[in-house]
Symmetry: C2
Subunit: 245 residues, 2 copies
Amino acid sequence: MELKPALYLIPVSISNAPLRDSLPEGNLDIIRQLRYLIVENVRTARRFLKRCDPGFDIGGVTFFELNRHTDPMEVSGYLEPLRKGEPVGVMSEAGCPAIADPGSLPVSIAQREGLKVVPLVGPSSILMSLMASGFNGQGFSFNGYLPIDQKERERSLKELESLSRKNDMTQIFIETPYRNNRMIAAIVSALRDDTLLCVACDITDPDHESVKTRSVAEWRRAKYDFDKRPAIFLIYSRNSVSHKR
Amino acid sequence: MELKPALYLIPVSISNAPLRDSLPEGNLDIIRQLRYLIVENVRTARRFLKRCDPGFDIGGVTFFELNRHTDPMEVSGYLEPLRKGEPVGVMSEAGCPAIADPGSLPVSIAQREGLKVVPLVGPSSILMSLMASGFNGQGFSFNGYLPIDQKERERSLKELESLSRKNDMTQIFIETPYRNNRMIAAIVSALRDDTLLCVACDITDPDHESVKTRSVAEWRRAKYDFDKRPAIFLIYSRNSVSHKR
């Protein structure tokens, strides 16, 4: 079936697990038909395409690079094929495009111009860690990175803890992998004993995935080492009184 | 390969699209090996399993029902097979279990007891609408349902708008489908002209999916009818000054 013109948002696997375990087969039918791709890095994008289909005609694809070095003024031009009726794809380095990466810029331009946008299914460490944490999934916030400065980080952690209690919401954030252990140390030193912390790492990796929820008091006594593993952090502090609809 | 004992969190499709377009094939290998399933509704769970595999041995599965009628005290018993080394699955009615549904209770019990929890990949209207909205995916909150009372709803919408501006965060919420049009009317009457509203509906449905972002001023003039369609709402209000790491 011929692909309708649209901006397709294409998730990329987040581990070395077989693709059939983390991406719907139907995504491949779409990827194979795309001749224009907006990607964060051409080299790793090629590698992913070859992994999807060793026979993929990479020579027939025009790549547009979108990353911190891209002039935002250029991005609108990346949508030129779509304006002429050709489908265009957006791929991030890992996970879902436009979530915690620069991919949302072409999407916002497409929306402003009334161009069709089609999101595809794929792995999101934010959502999967939330599912597996056991925390409240009916209300949650993703906060990206916290400040690096120690004092500011402490203030920010306490603020998230108090927001979690006040609004009964799970608070999610990420850290650069080589700082994971320091992040946990900061959390156990700043937060209440009974606040729950979930550390999720290597999501979708069949051999190394680990999603562990413990109280801050338990983490303080626990042995752990998450150094350089892709991880995500969730805190949840329950208050006996919480507002519901 | 024999399935490791764990609590598997199994996403269910959210539209009538072919399963191969919204679920990884690998999920099926896991589903086929499960003999214990925690589900919201046995009848619709059976229907989904038959859709996954018409030859599925449903007679060999023990179902545990988890919904608003379930006594929370009983849920711990649902994990008895897992404590004995048998894998157990959790399925919601649609989408990802433990996100905006009661599935997080058995997960939190499993986590407390140190039992392994494995989330699988699947469609989430929250995440997919966020990807396709063009809004900030580096910071966002999911707020569930807003209050129904008109005055309280207005206050809550204004609060989300001001939080979006203050923290540069996308604010996401849902509504019962037959109230969608009234929700949009409430939004355009309460919020600023330049605040952006994205209405995403029928996510993953190849024929009816629609994700549209417009300013409140534009929605006010637009013709729309989202009555009884599964929808999700996102607002994003940009401030020239926003805090970054």
